[in-house]
Subunit: 230 residues, 4 copies
């Protein structure tokens, strides 16, 4: 069942280790089959070096396990909520990567300070609010999904493919599982560069809009000319 | 004698190198057999690439070497003192890992700034006081154990499985040797993230209690639902 | 066609990965054959692990593709503009390497703070101005080349073989492709050291001129005595 | 000639790469045969991956090349001057390692902030003054040796086995070549920890003397009990 998607999700999870985005079990990647409305996700608390295609878990959009012996990631309700709200995305990566987590803990959005950022993220990397006590008690992971969706009211998860959850860590979105890992890596590097930039110049201003706009459009706009023709 | 425990302690010591938690001989891991009241510990000053199962040392709770040709770690009296006071623990890891040591040297506890911390450590990562001159002269390593125990008067070494010794470096505890290494790695990463968080926002406040409580309980509480069923 | 140059440019591009100067597709190296006035350059948006000698692109100094199935790097007009202005150089490396990019984003030149810098870069590492809106709209990459040339009005790209483009990232020059990568690595390390130096001492002053002069001359001056006789 | 010493010096030079203490050609290790008064040293400007036992250079204490086709390191006069003044040492390592170089560039000594430092360096890591213009012009490398010796007027290069040359980079000493590399690594790690410690607590005070004294003595004093019996 869903062999190709499972293979993608497995590879995507393993690439988190290769890119240094996770240690221990601090992360998970999922992918969705939009025709069947089924999500493949990492099992909860399983070390990456013990992860195989057979212990990935398939869930439907109600959260019910459709295939697999393991419990799915405890963050599954959040993933599902995001897939339901963001129809454009096909993959989600959640990590506690070092630098992006520092900004999440510091409760600071990451403004666009340079073209590396502008090439990949349209505008600032957004930050959610904190969950309320009632939201935590009612349904923690599900409501984490909801406050992300709330923050994206005026944002597009394809052009701004990542978010910082206040006091927690980053998530990244993508057209598929691999693409969401790629955006997770970009977010981490952009965060690291932002931290260093503030170190050198505490009062740095964001990149002029006409430059960030140009960089985003040359990669992702209707007349994009970066990369090879598809 | 104690072949299985020795194997665990050897692997745990070697994983310090793999995780980048030690260079040279700056660290040691021990494990205890609670039935026999015997501790297996790294020999003193032996490089990790020369460490074999045969040069591990077995000591009893009076500190007497029961098996092994080598001198045990000079920190052995501290390990024994901790095993005697903390009945719940089965392993201890001492390192001079980079970021945790920075906080120990700066004499600052690490407050819970995010869910990465909350997932693993209940409350702040505690800091001991300095030893007095008399304590240093009387029995340095033994008294280092004693000031840790003093600091844990109202703390549980399983739910707060690590400590910073003022001016020195971190220790981590665990259910066994491998678990204490794992907590040592977590402490190091939490320290690194805390340093960066303060860099971005010097006035950051600790995570709201209801979020840190939730995170700790979902992993370690009576109704924990993170990970696989045991 | 140009097999030797292609081999050099391929190796130079791959060494960016080895030195940790790029992730994903964030960089490109080119080399020029000064007799034929042809430039070999990385194709646009191709991952380094898929780069082969066959997908390198050959362009002439008008920007026309002379050989290759792929689109050349979108930065090609900038490379060409620089080769036309700086006759002494044979290779150009553009990366978004971490520390150099921090300084570019912070819009700060890197003064000569020590002999590591003085050994390789004569004077400060220069910073361009921002492009104007009109320049961005007219010909972004070409005009990026032009503002670098403007900044080098009184500088020599062999003795000061690198530049920070404001809000963007570094470029490095060299006698050939490999040499430009080498200078790219040096620029990155010099930037990292400068960041840390300012951390320790915000008011540090640049190295006395007579020391930086000595270091540059002993490596690159007419009586240079560093290294082996050629 | 001196095959054993050459093998030691070769291994010591190569371990600089393994420990991440050098990139490119930014470092050199030498060792001395005290009976023959001959020094084995790295050739100048040779990349580490091209270094073999056959291109090491043997010089006498007047600086004359006794064996070898290559030019010796341009820092050879400094090494010789130090061997003549510090009779106790058998090896010298010079690097531009990241963190130690930051302190050298910032012109700040590294006070003893914790037991990692105290275990290996007695007192602060000293800093030289800058060379004068006349000293640079007269004999740059030789006089660099002389200002180190001047700084060690009341210091012992075995108990304080390293130094920061103002505006330049660190040197480390040892009983032999390998030991000097080990001290070079320790100096680098101590510098990194010091930088982070100041980051967390700008006003941190040095470790109480009775603790640093204890740590140094338990490793190096007449009643040392760290490590195995020799």
């Amino acid at each position: 069942m869903l062999e190709e998607l499972k293979q993608d999700v497995l590879q995507a999870n393993m690439s988190l280790v290769k890119y240094g985005l996770v240690v221990l079990t601090w992360g998970n990647v999922s992918g969705i089959d939009r025709n069947k409305n089924l999500v493949v996700i990492k099992p909860s608390g399983v070390d990456y070096d013990k992860l195989t295609i057979d212990n990935l878990v398939v869930v439907d959009l109600s959260g019910k396990v459709v295939e697999g012996d393991k419990r799915p990631s405890s963050d599954t309700p959040m993933h599902i909520e995001l897939y339901k709200a963001f129809k454009e995305i096909g993959g989600i990566t959640h990590t506690h990567s070092n630098y992006a987590t520092m900004f999440a803990q510091a409760c600071k959005e990451i403004p666009c300070l340079g073209t590396t950022h502008a090439d990949h993220f349209y505008g600032s990397i957004p930050l959610t609010r904190f969950l309320t006590k009632a939201e935590v008690e009612e349904a923690y992971e599900l409501n984490t999904g909801k406050i992300i969706i709330e923050r994206f009211k005026d944002l597009n998860p394809i052009s701004t493919p990542g978010v910082l959850v206040a006091g927690h860590a980053p998530l990244a979105f993508g057209k598929n599982a691999a693409d969401s890992v790629r955006n997770s890596l970009i977010l981490e590097r952009v965060a690291e560069m932002a931290l260093g930039t503030y170190h050198i110049n505490r009062n740095v201003e964001k990149l002029p809009d006409y430059i960030s706009e140009k960089h985003y459009q040359r990669k992702h706009g209707p007349d994009a000319y970066y990369g090879q023709k598809k």
